[in-house]
């Protein structure tokens, strides 16, 4: 090897300075702390998934591998029906929340009118209002006007708390949008409606997608508002699971959870992929 006689000009070739022992200790502590946090977050999930393949009824004893609980899950009529209900309700309420939220954000952004600020505040309240309050108040409302509980009432309930999330996301995007974009479209012969459709809406797409994902997720695991506004026929998955869990946990719920975790991971990956597309 050639002996180096001249001091090198590249700093990254210099020997790494020894850190003081206090800093080393701090780094180790922080590393341990991080591991602990991740353990808290993900260990229960890992155990849950592992025990969904357990041949025993009990979650604490390992008795061998089986797919039995997954078969039982598929054969369980009420759970499958509840899952279907959840998907239908989440899809419809997401669609409505996206339409309401986007149009609402556009109106609040584009037009200056009296009460705009009050409306802004009123729209934000359902996001922070306790769900139990919203559930009870909706139930009282439906009872007062004699509206039969069912799919419609659950969907109304879900849209009520989910559309503000879409609205806020779209509003944030609108604030960053060049106001000249709409004028450019008008200038080139687009009517106000056309300029919204062909220019503004495509620019808002990332925010709309983010808001829709939020609304869908919120609707999928909503329990309390649904509890007050459902009928027997419109029972959703969270309510069904809650009912089963009260009777006693069994590995079928583990299997159900595992399916959900898989769906969630797929969902997260998909939204990350969409984000990447938008940042192209």
């Amino acid at each position: 090897m050639k002996k180096c006689t001249l001091p090198t000009a590249f700093p990254f070739q210099a020997p790494r300075p020894r850190l003081p022992s206090g800093i080393v200790l701090l780094h180790r502590t922080l590393g341990f702390w991080t591991a602990l946090v991740f353990g808290f977050l993900y260990l229960p999930i890992v155990i849950l998934v592992v025990y969904s393949f357990n041949a025993s009824r009990l979650n604490i004893l390992w008795a061998g591998f089986t797919l039995d609980w997954y078969v039982r899950l598929l054969e369980n009529g009420p759970i499958i029906r509840a899952a279907k209900n959840s998907l239908i309700i989440a899809s419809i309420s997401t669609l409505l929340a996206v339409i309401l939220g986007t149009v609402g954000a556009w109106l609040l952004h584009r037009y200056r009118f009296r009460l705009a600020r009050s409306i802004q505040t009123l729209v934000a309240i359902p996001m922070v209002m306790p769900e139990i309050l919203m559930g009870i108040s909706l139930l009282i409302l439906f009872a007062t006007i004699g509206f039969n509980l069912g799919f419609t009432t659950v969907i109304i309930g879900h849209v009520t708390f989910s559309f503000p999330f879409v609205l806020v996301a779209v509003q944030a995007r609108l604030q960053g949008l060049d106001p000249a974009l709409e004028e450019a479209a008008l200038d080139l012969g687009a009517t106000p409606l056309q300029s919204f459709w062909f220019v503004i809406l495509p620019c808002l797409r990332p925010a709309i997608v983010a808001g829709a994902l939020m609304a869908f997720t919120l609707s999928m695991d909503e329990l309390i508002v649904t509890f007050f506004t459902r009928s027997a026929a419109s029972t959703t998955l969270p309510i069904q699971v809650f009912g089963l869990a009260r009777v006693g946990l069994n590995p079928m719920l583990n299997a159900l959870s595992a399916v959900f975790i898989l769906a969630t991971v797929a969902f997260v990956l998909f939204s990350a992929y969409l984000r990447k597309l938008n940042h192209r």
């Binding site: 060049d178 000249a180 974009l181 004028e183 450019a184 479209a185 008008l186 200038d187 080139l188 012969g189 687009a190 009517t191 056309q194 062909f198 220019v199 495509p202 620019c203 797409r205």
Partner: protein, 364 residues
């Protein structure tokens, strides 16, 4: 014989207020077809509002706007044969260059085959054919500017509005684009209304310049006329540099008049622009019209000055001169090669002024 150019734009007593603020104050202006007119003024003077009134983004509170003979005062922007190049370019971020340029044709439902040809022509015109499939964020500032231009001219508007389109470009590119825009305008024969606060830009490109201040047109005329014969202190000061002197009229002699600066310096000026009743006047002297020399020059006004300050500017030297009375002038001299001719701080030199270069901009 060529027919007299017809009026493309006629503004009659146009006023626009925002609350208590009058952005455009009773402006009347006629722009001929095929003319390149520049609205020049500082920020907040109302030039952009005037442009927005022409585009149809704002409606005037009073007055009327005629486009090619028909009243468009209450016509929305999408029904006016007027297109605009925006200061921010406002390119549609989700569309390719081709689709951005073709947007106007799509709104007019031009058949795709015809549209494709016209888009190609427009892109060729601004030499952007090879980036047609890119998105705006993949382009340089200059390229974006050209896309905005191509998008605005593809519908063959009667009038093209340009809102400080070059302000985001660097100095060199800006100069190239100025010449290119001017050439394009001659070739297309479209009436250009150009808004800028850059007087150099205005002087380079325009057939006529409207100097705007506080919502009013202070002066309207050709570039040379505006530069050499400013009609108001604002116009004199805003365009180029000017030495403004407040003087008292002391005597008249046919075509010339004698005036005195407060410090005591006496000057001879042209009496043509001086109303007979005027006692006081404000005169403007362009720095490059002050002739500095070591020998006594031939001129109506000759006096000795001392060079108080010298600022090297490359092609020119800026000098701050002071007379024995204490009156100060800024002068601009060409940096010539002979070292012996160079002027330096503290030098005592002669200053020569032709009476024609002392322009009366205001009288009392």
């Amino acid at each position: 014989m060529k027919p007299a150019p017809s009026a493309m734009i006629e503004l009659c007593g146009v006023t626009k207020r925002f609350g208590d603020f009058t952005a455009v104050d009773d402006v009347s202006l006629t722009v001929r077809a095929g003319e390149f007119i520049t609205l020049l003024g500082p920020s907040g003077c109302g030039k952009t509002t005037l442009l927005r009134l022409l585009a149809g983004f704002e409606a005037p509170d009073a007055g009327s706007i005629l486009l090619d003979g028909s009243d468009v005062t209450s016509l929305p922007p999408y029904h006016r044969s007027v297109n605009q190049v925006f200061q921010s370019y406002a390119l549609f971020p989700h569309l390719t260059v081709r689709d951005n340029v073709g947007f106007g044709l799509r709104m007019q439902r031009v058949p795709p085959a015809e549209a494709a040809g016209r888009i190609r022509d427009a892109l060729d015109l601004v030499s952007l054919g090879e980036v047609a499939d890119r998105h705006p964020h993949q382009l340089s500032g200059g390229q974006r500017q050209r896309v905005a231009l191509a998008r605005a001219i593809i519908c063959r508007p009667k009038v093209l509005l340009l809102d400080e389109p070059l302000s985001a470009l660097d100095a060199k590119l800006r100069h190239t684009m100025q010449l290119e825009l001017k050439r394009l305008q001659r070739r297309l024969g479209i009436t250009f209304v150009f808004v800028t606060h850059d007087q150099g830009e205005a002087l380079t490109m325009s057939d006529r310049i409207a100097v705007i201040n506080r919502g009013r047109i202070e002066q309207l005329g050709g570039a040379a006329e505006i530069y050499h014969r400013p009609r108001s202190p604002f116009a004199a000061d805003f365009i180029g540099q000017a030495n403004l002197l407040s003087v008292t009229v002391t005597g008249r002699n046919g075509l010339t008049a004698r005036v005195r600066v407060a410090s005591g310096l006496e000057l001879t000026i042209s009496a043509l622009e001086l109303p007979p009743a005027a006692v006081k006047a404000l005169i403007s002297i362009r720095p490059e019209k002050i002739h500095i020399s070591r020998q006594r020059p031939e001129a109506e006004n000759v006096f000795e000055v001392r060079i108080e300050e010298e600022i090297f500017q490359g092609a020119t030297d800026q000098l701050l001169l002071a007379t024995e009375h204490g009156t100060r002038f800024h002068a601009l001299v060409a940096n010539e090669s002979a070292i012996s001719e160079a002027f330096h701080e503290g030098d005592q030199v002669y200053c020569g002024l032709h009476f024609d270069d002392l322009v009366v901009v205001q009288t009392e």
